[in-house]
Symmetry: C2
Subunit: 508 residues, 2 copies
Amino acid sequence: MTDDTLTAPRRSGRRARLAQRAAPPVVNPAPPGQLGGAYKPLTDPELSAIYATALRLLEHLGMGEVPDRLAAVLLAAGARQMPGARISIPPALVGDAIAAAPRTFTLHGRDPARSITVGGRAVHFGTGGAAVQALDLETQRYRASTLRDLHDFTRLQDTLTNISWFTRCCIATDVPDEYALDVNTAYALMKNTTKPVATAFTLAENVAPIVEMFDITAGGKGEFAKRPFVKAHISPVISPMRYGEDAVDVVFECIAHNIPISCITAAQAGATAPATLAGFLAQSLAETLASLVMVHAIRPGYPMVFSNWPLVIDLRTGAFAGGGGEIAVLNAASAQLSNWLGLVSGVACSMTDAKAIDAQYGAEKGITSLAAALAGGNLIYESSGMTASLLGASFEGFILDNEMHSATYRALRGIEVSDENLGYEAICAAVLGEGHFLGGAQTLQAMERDYVYPALADRENPRTWADNGASDAWGRARMRAQEILAKHHPTYLSPEQDAAIRKAFTIL
Amino acid sequence: MTDDTLTAPRRSGRRARLAQRAAPPVVNPAPPGQLGGAYKPLTDPELSAIYATALRLLEHLGMGEVPDRLAAVLLAAGARQMPGARISIPPALVGDAIAAAPRTFTLHGRDPARSITVGGRAVHFGTGGAAVQALDLETQRYRASTLRDLHDFTRLQDTLTNISWFTRCCIATDVPDEYALDVNTAYALMKNTTKPVATAFTLAENVAPIVEMFDITAGGKGEFAKRPFVKAHISPVISPMRYGEDAVDVVFECIAHNIPISCITAAQAGATAPATLAGFLAQSLAETLASLVMVHAIRPGYPMVFSNWPLVIDLRTGAFAGGGGEIAVLNAASAQLSNWLGLVSGVACSMTDAKAIDAQYGAEKGITSLAAALAGGNLIYESSGMTASLLGASFEGFILDNEMHSATYRALRGIEVSDENLGYEAICAAVLGEGHFLGGAQTLQAMERDYVYPALADRENPRTWADNGASDAWGRARMRAQEILAKHHPTYLSPEQDAAIRKAFTIL
């Protein structure tokens, strides 16, 4: 089921002569996976200078607080113990890790038709995040997010075609026990969607039992590892320049179970990383490379999303702020850097600081998501449904962001320049013939093949808009979200699978 | 007076340790005129192919409906009469016109400190448009726009620093007489702002008398022409591929009075130009080049903004739609094409189809304006205050767009990569010292020099937002617009100038 199948046909009574063309085109003119890279915020010498500084940091400053288990594999791979407790990662080892990393890999959906190939110049929007509040559909106010919200968000996004993978977007704050939280989060993902999904593991010992749940879902013991449809989000590096033991343990455990991982560096400018943008990028690149080297030392060539997410704080309050121009250019530059190194890039964009679903929400998301996409971010995390500087998640936001991504993908698709599309003869024929292009064969073909027709955006004239109740996007999205949530109750687990899971786990 | 001077100091009681840093920085970290061009939607061979097709159209299809007066100067410059009524513009003449066109020129403000240099890679946002409706501040509904609105919009934008020039954004629909309309529009511009301004002339015979008003404002007869602070918006080409006689007459008259001109091609995809994007760009480039050749034939080297504005209609209704991804990439490509030819580029972006000041408004403006800016559009028209597919103008929109442009300019500014900004030593010192970057000298300097702190955007946490009334951007912008309109009553005409104008003209 896709969002298109839920869309009522558009009425178009106003211009009868165009009525026969009013149906939405059958072909999606701008599906996910469009190619980025036409925007290059950094020049080649600038890329080299940032990379050189990152290498220098890794070699001469090194990484701190390296757990013993990790130190052993790093040293075996070519890292060196420094005086004191730090470990030096020499350029040759970084080069080995980059060379061994896969340029592209597949993130499997349980439905193979929903799998995506990530890397290269392909751009996909998806979710990340761990909001602790949900914007309530009824009250339009924030409240603590619940397990029920997580189920609802998961089944809502299941219908939204521009969200290529789903990470649990909010925390079920009504599930205080950490193991129960990890289990019930995984269950919500299994039950409500067949897209590629992602989750986080609070502790390494939670991984093995939850993989049992994935095996039940996949059809038997060991089946999940053959075609893993869940990836793990892990932050094994704590800025500045040290490892975090619990997260490193989760990395070891995920690799043992063949769970692809997204290693996220989430430094904050002026707090855990330099406030100068170039210095920030050098440090956070070094840190994400430290994650890559770790993964390489454990298992060379393992699929890892290189998630270098530069974050910004507002000087006036010290709080994280996700919607500014700095974060747009920093994440675009991060994507460019990762892609230039041949790595699969993850960035965080289409964030906003707005609480209301308003013009600030739209502008901040529009600017940050377009910048990251044009720069070629392979996986654009936090791109859908997130609000309130990542503290909140919104049903209406999912609906609106999904539609916004169509415009971004359409811009990314660019302009196909060919003799046929230049159409010299067709222009001459129109000018010397009817004097316009309306109704021509080339026009009709292009209109159906090349143009996005939004389902929710208001394109009426002011009078019609007022006569129809002067709606705004928030209200239209609310109605749409309620409509989908009332109708779409997927059951992607068979009764037998569900019973087996409930036998092995406490499903709340 | 700028918007900053009207801004109340921000409170920041929540984190006392940061209180001393809470004042807005004195330096504007991202003023207008930032450099674009890092986004290149077209490759070099694609640029060449589109230009070659434009040249072929101009030479072999030629321009239709050429007024006799224009035909004479074109033929004298090297154009050729074709069989039938069309005139061929050969590539050599196009090349002459491009070579003679100034690469940059100054748009003068009456206040010289507000003059801007346009061209090269510099990006400026400003207004265009001829809305016939205003979004009423009191009722939040659209109504016919009036002369009073025009005065109010002009004095409002006078305080907004990211709007580099002001074109009358709405039509005073309560002034039905065309001459009275042109006169009173010009008067509103003279009275309420000292930025570079622009207007349109309904008929050529209106130019000379209105220049008399400009002369009174400039200090005496002939003074305006020495340092013209008004440019004219003219559409001398009617798509597809013919001239329009009235507008051509206005061009002759403006050049005679040394009024810089923006020659606007506003073809619509699938109606007056091909629906295929490449063909559209080829035709509209040819048409804008036809304007340039016209100006060149009248007076070589005359300052003309090369305004190639690709517009899109919605297939389902046939109505113009300004907010889609197609219009983002088309206008970005137009800017790239014009800049590649060395011409001063004008595009139309930051348009929206939304009527409400909502999330659709924000996302459409964010995406289209960032695309045009990153591509290096020198003059980005329609960028501020316009709504409703250019049918409407909004006071709240002016406030919000002005703030949004700060984020775009911040992204455009990019990342300065230098040894100092990479800060290898500073990173080592922080990591081996306090373990963070808070409060460091480099941090404080960068925070004040490199980061934009929005005045209106909501960056509070959800609870504070709710406690403070759960505001949205529309409401905050409304209060701000009302505050400015209540306070800012500029009188940029002396009593003597005002009296002289009122003696010569009927000022309503």
